[in-house]
Structure formats: structure tokens, C-alpha cells
């Protein structure tokens, strides 16, 4: 009786909302640089996202940490500006640049006001093409990275994630910390920084996305000026890792009232025909919302955790299905048991018609809501290009989610979920786990 009230309402509102289409333009500059653009002239600024495929996985042998350190140094002095001069120039323009790397991508995010567009891009260009990598800047930023490495070594979440990756990916870059090690960092030189930049920041792996107050006609020349001087080719991409999914549980001793858990198994490739069924399946089993089975069983019914979720992680060279949560040391064994049993239940029994319907309405209804604001749109556009998706994916994606059937999900659950492989790393002082 309780549910009837909204059952009626939900039926009325279930149709996918009619949202304005996002108009993605594909722009090729006179110099041949490709970009995706969504124009929006309602606010006087634009968001620019640059992606270089490969990221920190392109570290040269014996130079682990070089690309991460180099990424942190791009804004620490360029051309005629030292680190402080570069930062002051950025502030004076009201521009905002961000530099980041992970094991698949080096990312550069920029926001700039229309009135300061040329000067902002000129400054960013300095960073991209004339970084100085001054020794004093290297020393300073290296000390910051060392501090991060040391903090991670005392952080149960980092310990768990790093251990899981190491055990699964071994010596492959995916299995080691992109920050490098304290000893390895000490050996990196200024020449290594220039080498690291040449390996990853090249046009043959560049993706560009822009959203905001820029026209297609303006964008081409802008890109040629900003990016035209980058080298054509970077380093070869690494080969895929050998993945060792061992099942079982590893306990890492750590003095804390709560244990942090990372678990996972094989994932599925983004271009697999079953990908969407797997995506819907994950939403039902481990989505971050309150409808998901893991959230319901571990948090809502038993109060064993504050939050739990799982994710399909599609990296360029490997695919995993990982999840994470934290539980009091006295409760964590029970929580792990619940996760294992939910995993097995989904693998053997699939999901229900109601669950499938709710997951689909959520996934299709929430998708258009992501496209709000220049920064979010530019980020999505960059991500789509990295995944090799076409621009019209924004219009076809929901139909692909809708097309997933109960039989698809059941078949994929059986094919993909391997409870015996599900590997847990537990960091803490768990009672009853070894």
C-alpha cells in the first residue's frame, strides 16, 4: 500500500525527458588539429580540455614517477617567467589552469575569460612549449611528491588500492604507483623531465575539447597557435599487463579502528557487445545510489558501513570491476561475507525485472543531466574522444541502455561475474580475517 502512491506518479514520469540536444561540432584547424566544440555564449568564458593518451604509463624504464613529476612542473616556470611569475600572470588574467596525470592520460584543464582569451592561451602555450624545468622547481615539487608518497604510505585507502593493483598487475605500470618511489625520484634529472614531456605530450595522442564562449571559426587558429608547435610523435605505448586474479583475501596490518576494503575481479572492454548489459548490471549490484544491492545489504539492512559501491573500470590496456568500502574491525568480516554472497547471488540468479527497469530509468534519465555547464561538457567531450566514441553517441547512448534485456543481464552476469576470482585487500586490524 505504501508504494502505490508513487507507482502511479512514476508511470507518468518515466518517459525519458525531452532534453535539448547537445550540439557537438567537430572542428579541424588549418594546421590539422582536431577538436570537439560545444558553443555556448551565455557566459563570457570557455573551458578547454586537453588529453594526451598514455599518461604516466609512458614513463621510460627506470624512470617511474618522471611523467607525474613533469606534469606538476609545467606551470612552475616557462619561457621568460619563473614559477612565481607564471602563477602571478595566471592570477592577473583570472585564468585557471590545471595539470594532472594518471596511468592512461595526461590532462590539462583551462578556464579563461573571453576578454583575456588571447593572453591566457599565450601563457598556457608557454607552459606547453617552453617549460623551464628549473632545478630549484624540480627540487621543490619533488619534495611535495615525496610528501604525498609518505602520506599515502600511512593512508589505509591508498595502501589498499596500491596493494590490490600491485597484486593484480604486477610490474606493469598499472601495478605501480605513478608517483614513483622516494629513491627513484631522487635520481630524476632535468634531462629526464624534458624526456618525459617528449614521450607523452605529442600531437599523435592529443584530444581537444572546448565548451563555452568560442566559435568554430575562432577555434581553429586558436588551436594551431596553442598546440601547433608540439612534436608530432611521442613514445610507444606499453603492452597490456598480465592480469593475475587470484581470489581470496589479503590482510595488511594497519592500526586503525576501521578496516578499508578494496575488492575486484576482471572487467569488460568498452567495445564489447555486452558492455551495456554489464554497465546496467553493475548499477544494480554496486551503483552508488541507495537502490543498489550492496548499499542495501551492507549499509541499509545491517549498518556495517557508511558507503559501498562498485565500478567498471575501463583502462586503455586492462579492464577491471572494482569496489570499495570501510567497516569497523569487528564487523568487516561479516561485510566481506555479504559482498561475496551478493556477488554469487547475482552471478547465478541475475536480477529482477523491477531492478532492471529502475536501473534503466536512472541511467537514461541522469545521462542528459550531466551536460550542464561548460566545464562538465568539455570534460565529457574529452572523455568520449579518449574512448573512441562518435559525436552522435550522446544521441544513441540511451537507446543502447534501453535495449538491454533481462536475459542479457542474466547472461552477462553468468559470463562476467566470477565469485571465485573476487580478490579482497583488507587494510586494518580485522577480527576474524586472515
Amino acid at each position: 500500500m505504501i508504494r502505490t502512491v508513487f507507482a502511479g506518479l512514476a508511470a507518468v514520469w518515466l518517459a525519458v525527458p525531452a532534453l535539448a540536444a547537445v550540439d557537438i561540432q567537430e572542428v579541424t584547424s588549418p594546421g590539422g588539429i582536431k577538436a570537439w566544440l560545444v558553443e555556448d555564449h551565455s557566459l563570457p568564458f570557455a573551458a578547454l580540455e586537453l588529453r594526451f593518451r598514455g599518461g604516466a604509463s609512458l614513463d621510460a624504464p627506470g624512470k617511474r614517477g618522471a611523467i607525474n613529476l613533469m606534469t606538476g612542473l609545467i606551470e612552475e616556470g616557462a619561457g621568460d617567467l619563473d614559477a612565481q611569475g607564471f602563477a602571478a600572470a595566471q592570477e592577473g588574467l583570472g585564468a585557471h589552469f590545471g595539470f594532472d596525470s594518471d596511468n592512461d592520460t595526461l590532462s590539462i584543464s583551462a578556464r579563461f575569460l573571453t576578454e583575456n582569451r588571447d593572453a591566457s592561451l599565450e601563457l598556457l602555450k608557454k607552459g606547453l612549449t617552453e617549460p623551464r624545468f628549473d632545478q630549484n622547481a624540480i627540487d621543490r615539487v619533488r619534495a611535495q611528491v615525496v610528501s604525498i608518497i609518505q602520506s599515502d604510505a600511512q593512508d589505509p585507502q591508498s595502501i589498499a588500492g596500491n596493494r590490490w593493483a600491485r597484486d593484480v598487475f604486477g610490474d606493469h605500470p598499472y601495478g605501480t604507483d605513478q608517483n614513483g618511489t622516494v629513491e627513484g625520484l631522487a635520481r630524476l634529472t632535468q634531462a629526464d623531465m624534458f624526456e618525459a614531456k617528449a614521450r607523452v605530450m605529442a600531437r599523435d595522442r592529443l584530444y581537444v575539447a572546448v565548451a563555452g564562449d568560442v566559435t568554430a571559426a575562432e577555434l581553429g587558429p586558436m588551436l594551431d597557435h596553442l598546440l601547433g608547435e608540439l612534436p608530432d610523435k611521442g613514445a610507444e605505448f606499453p603492452t597490456p599487463p598480465q592480469i593475475a586474479m587470484r581470489g581470496g583475501t589479503t590482510v595488511v596490518d594497519f592500526g586503525s579502528p576501521q578496516s578499508v576494503v578494496v575488492f575486484g575481479q576482471h572487467g569488460i572492454r568498452r567495445d564489447d557487445p555486452d558492455y551495456f548489459a554489464a554497465y546496467v548490471l553493475n548499477q544494480i549490484v554496486g551503483g552508488s545510489g541507495f537502490s543498489a544491492r550492496l548499499m542495501d545489504e551492507v549499509r541499509e539492512k545491517r549498518g556495517l558501513t557508511y558507503g559501498i559501491a562498485s565500478y567498471l573500470i575501463d583502462m586503455d590496456l586492462a579492464d577491471t570491476w572494482q569496489g570499495s568500502f570501510a567497516s569497523a574491525n569487528e564487523k568487516v568480516a561479516q561485510a566481506v561475507e555479504v559482498v561475496r554472497s551478493e556477488w554469487a547471488r547475482a552471478a547465478t540468479q541475475g536480477v529482477t525485472e523491477d531492478e532492471l527497469r529502475d536501473a534503466k530509468t536512472y541511467l537514461t534519465g541522469s545521462y542528459p543531466l550531466r551536460f550542464s555547464g561548460n566545464e562538465k561538457i568539455a570534460n565529457i567531450l574529452a572523455g568520449m574522444q579518449l574512448q573512441g566514441l562518435p559525436t552522435d553517441y550522446v544521441n544513441t547512448r540511451n537507446a543502447r541502455v534501453e535495449a538491454v534485456t533481462l536475459a542479457d543481464v542474466k547472461r552477462v552476469a553468468k559470463r562476467l561475474m566470477t565469485p571465485g576470482d573476487l580478490y579482497f585487500v583488507v587494510v586494518g586490524r580485522p577480527v576474524g580475517l586472515k
Binding site: 621543490r140 541507495f290 543531466l369
Partner: protein, 448 residues
């Protein structure tokens, strides 16, 4: 994660605190007969709408001994009503493609959803329903108490930095409830009951103690009709009085804390000073302190502390200063240093104090002040990109007693702060007698 505490939200808000004078026309306000204040923030760029309900009751309004009840009730608000099953609100929102969450702070508790614009009636109906019709079963309140204790485990007790800051706040306030953590002290959380939560709910969860903010693709006419329909019939609470909390006595003695924990990897020094907050019609000192924080420790490359300690003496890996004046009562101005390898916390503190003393003598650099103004103007434009961010700004401002005019004046006040005002605010606030200096270092003392 669901039901996050507001510490995070406040930190995220601290940088762009901005107004929208240029878009003032798209802000509409009205009040229903039962006392519910409504604000409509139009943004028709995307067919998306955000609903937020802000209750003017936060952890600093709790009865002594019941710490954590405001946040605990926030969790319980997802447990259903006479017409909704436990968890149903979130499930219906999700099934319609939306997302929802809530947060608790010292001065307010807020609930929000983000969803396609044509589903606004659905979320308004459900949010109005739980304002007066919450139901808690025996199972629900006990399990949820375990969840909030796990939240404390995760956010506070597993993180030495969080424990350190909890201890600092407790030492900063001699009398005012800002010294008690929002999530609650564990020993008090463990004793919270269904009755405690319901007493809190009955007193504060009412239209005359709330502000409804609707932002995004909605017109004021439509919102008004829906608000009348769904929120209009709700009974006001008889027990809502103006908030008059206890105040701080003069703080006459500087306090020092040393926290040791084996899990600390990076020693750290922080100092907090009691500081005035934004008040209706009186925001200039708060604006000057906002600029002061940016000048002293906003950006490692250009700030006073960064230039002196990260670049000059090389005694620090990082430095920071922070201030958020968006609170009902006196807040804090914070500075801190992560010392470089081989530099002791005592040496770092001496160096920091020398830099502060020099700054008070020489004053703020005019070029730096000009750059900060440019950044503030740019951040104003960037911040209009986010519907959620705008709803947060107005909702939070109103929840701490500011007016729409105060909120919209803030940007202009920030831009007009002079160097003299910054220095006057610095001399007023950087008073060691009203400060707490905390040293966090690695050590083998038991923490539990």
C-alpha cells in the same frame, strides 16, 4: 557519499564565494502563509532543476549531551513517511534519473535533489511530505545509528588529521557549541535514541524554520503554484524562536596542542584565531579577512607565506591560510605549514611568526591585491556555470541569517576592500590570545 558532513561542502565553497549582481533579475523570492521562505534562481541553459530545503537548525543548536543528533536525524530523514517506504524517496528520484543527498553543518541542515526540469513536481511533493510526516520504525533507527558511527569511524577516527582538527576546534571555543563536532562525540552518539531524533524533528522541521531554494529551468510562477500546492498545507512549528546561542567570553590565554599518532606521515602545524563572521548589513571585515586569507596563503607561488617559506627560506613543503565567514557566530581564521624535510615544527612556527610580523609591518602588496581582485571577478563568472553552486550560495547565506541583498552585495564588497581594510582586519584577528596552535606529529601514543 550519501549524507556527507558539511565540512567538505564548506571547504569546496570557500574559494568562490560570489554574488550575481549582473544576473540579479533572475532571483525571485516570496514567503508562503505558513512561513516558508522560497527563492527561485532561474537558469534556463539546460532543462535541469535543483531543489534544496534548508532548515535553520544545525549541530550548534543541539542540547548539551546530545551531540550528533542533528546529523543523525538527517540520515533518518530518508527512512520514509506515512506515504513513502524507507528509502523510497531516493529510489524514486533515482528511477527518474535524478540524484539526491543531504548535509548537516553547525548552523543548518539541508536536503537536495537534482533532476530533469519536468519532474520538479515529483520532488517537491516528496520533500514537502517528509518535512512533517516522518515515520521511524524500531529497526531503522538502530541500524542507522550504526551507520553514523561507521561514518565517524571513516571520516574522523581513521584519519589523524581529522582527529587533530576536532581537538583544535574543541580548544578554540571556550563556551560556544562550535567546539563540538558536527558528527558528534562518539560516546554521545552511541546513546542517541529514536526519541532524541524525533524531538529534534518535531521542533525544527517545519515551514517556518526552512528556506526552499529552486534553481535551474523553472519559472517563479510555476514554482509558486507548486510550492502552494505541496508545502502550503504544512503546519508551522510553534516552538521556533530566534537563535540566540551562548557567546564566547574574552579569550585571554593562547592555547597549544600537541597531537601524536603513529599514523601521521607528515608533521603539520596549524593555528586558528577566533574571527568575526559575515553579518547582515555588516560584511566588510569578513570580506577583508577573505582577501587576507588569499594573500597570506592562497597560492603557494604567490602568497606571502608561500613566497617566504616555500621559495625563500625553503622551510616548508606547503603553506595555507583559510577563512570562511559564512556562519551564524564567530568563526576562525586559519593558517598552517607543512615543514620541509629536516625542519622541526618549532622552527617552522618561528619562521611563520616572523613572516606574519613582517607582513603586519610592510602591509599587503598592491599588485597582489589587484591580482586577487581580478581572480574574484573571474571566479564570479565561472561560478555562474553551476546551478547547484548558485543554489548552495543563496541557501547557505539565508540559512545563516543574511538577506538576499547581503548575498548579492558580497561580490561588490569583496571587490572594493582596500589595502588598509585588509591590514586593519589582520591586526584585529591575528591576536595570539584568541588563538590555538596545534602541532601534529608521528608518535606512539594510543589513539583509541
Amino acid at each position: 557519499m550519501k549524507n556527507w558532513l558539511c565540512g567538505t561542502a564548506l571547504a569546496a565553497l570557500a574559494t568562490p564565494i560570489l554574488a550575481f549582481s549582473a544576473l540579479a533579475g533572475d532571483v525571485t523570492t516570496f514567503t508562503l502563509k505558513n512561513g516558508l521562505d522560497v527563492v527561485v534562481l532561474e537558469d534556463h541553459r539546460a532543462p535541469l532543476v535543483v531543489q534544496m530545503v534548508w532548515y535553520r537548525a544545525g549541530s550548534a543548536d543541539e542540547t548539551r549531551g546530545k551531540s550528533g543528533v542533528a546529523h543523525y536525524l538527517e540520515h533518518l530523514m530518508f527512512k520514509g513517511t506515512k506515504t513513502m517506504a524507507p528509502g523510497e524517496l531516493s529510489k524514486v528520484v533515482e528511477a527518474n534519473g535524478g540524484s539526491d543527498n543531504a548535509f548537516t553543518s553547525y548552523d543548518y541542515t539541508a536536503y537536495f535533489q537534482s533532476i530533469a526540469a519536468d519532474r520538479l513536481p515529483l520532488i517537491m511533493k516528496m520533500e514537502a511530505d517528509r518535512m512533517r510526516n516522518l515515520r521511524l520504525t524500531e529497526d531503522d533507527w538502530q541500524t542507522e545509528r550504526e551507520v553514523v558511527i561507521e561514518e565517524r569511524n571513516q571520516r574522523t577516527d581513521s584519519d589523524p588529521g581529522s582527529i587533530f582538527h576536532e581537538q583544535l576546534s574543541a580548544a578554540q571555543y571556550l563556551n560556544h557549541p562550535y567546539g563540538t563536532p558536527i558528527i558528534g562525540w562518539r560516546h554521545e552518539m552511541e546513546k542517541l535514541t529514536r526519541e532524541d531524533a524525533l524531538a529534534w524533528y518535531r521542533l525544527y522541521y517545519a515551514p517556518n524554520d526552512a528556506t526552499l531554494v529552486i534553481a535551474g529551468d523553472a519559472t517563479p510562477e510555476k514554482v509558486k503554484a507548486l510550492a502552494e500546492e505541496y508545502y502550503g498545507p504544512l503546519e508551522p512549528s510553534a516552538g521556533i524562536a530566534p537563535r540566540q546561542r551562548v557567546t564566547e567570553p574574552p579569550q585571554l590565554a593562547e592555547r597549544r596542542l600537541i597531537y601524536r599518532d603513529p599514523r601521521v606521515s607528515q608533521p603539520m602545524l596549524t593555528r586558528s584565531y577566533l574571527a568575526p563572521e559575515r553579518n547582515p548589513g555588516d560584511q566588510r571585515t569578513a570580506a577583508a579577512l577573505t582577501i587576507l586569507a588569499e594573500a597570506l596563503g592562497g597560492n603557494g607561488q604567490t602568497s606571502v607565506l608561500g613566497r617566504a617559506m616555500q621559495f625563500g627560506s625553503k622551510t616548508a613543503i606547503s603553506t595555507f591560510a583559510s577563512y570562511d565567514g559564512t556562519s551564524l557566530d564567530a568563526t576562525t581564521f586559519n593558517i598552517g605549514v607543512v615543514p620541509a624535510e629536516g625542519v622541526s615544527l618549532d622552527d617552522a612556527e618561528r619562521e611563520m611568526d616572523k613572516v606574519l610580523a613582517d607582513f603586519l609591518k610592510t602591509g599587503i602588496d598592491q599588485e597582489q591585491l589587484a591580482r586577487i581582485r581580478t581572480q574574484i571577478e573571474a571566479a564570479d563568472i565561472y561560478s555562474r556555470d553551476s546551478v547547484h553552486g548558485r543554489a548552495m550560495k543563496y541557501g547557505e547565506g539565508l540559512a545563516i541569517g543574511l538577506t538576499i541583498k547581503d548575498i548579492e552585495d558580497w561580490q561588490g564588497i569583496l571587490a572594493s576592500v582596500t589595502a588598509d581594510e585588509v591590514m586593519a582586519a589582520a591586526r584585529q584577528v591575528l591576536d595570539r590570545r584568541a588563538s590555538v596552535t596545534g602541532l601534529m606529529e608521528r608518535g606512539e601514543e594510543a589513539t583509541q
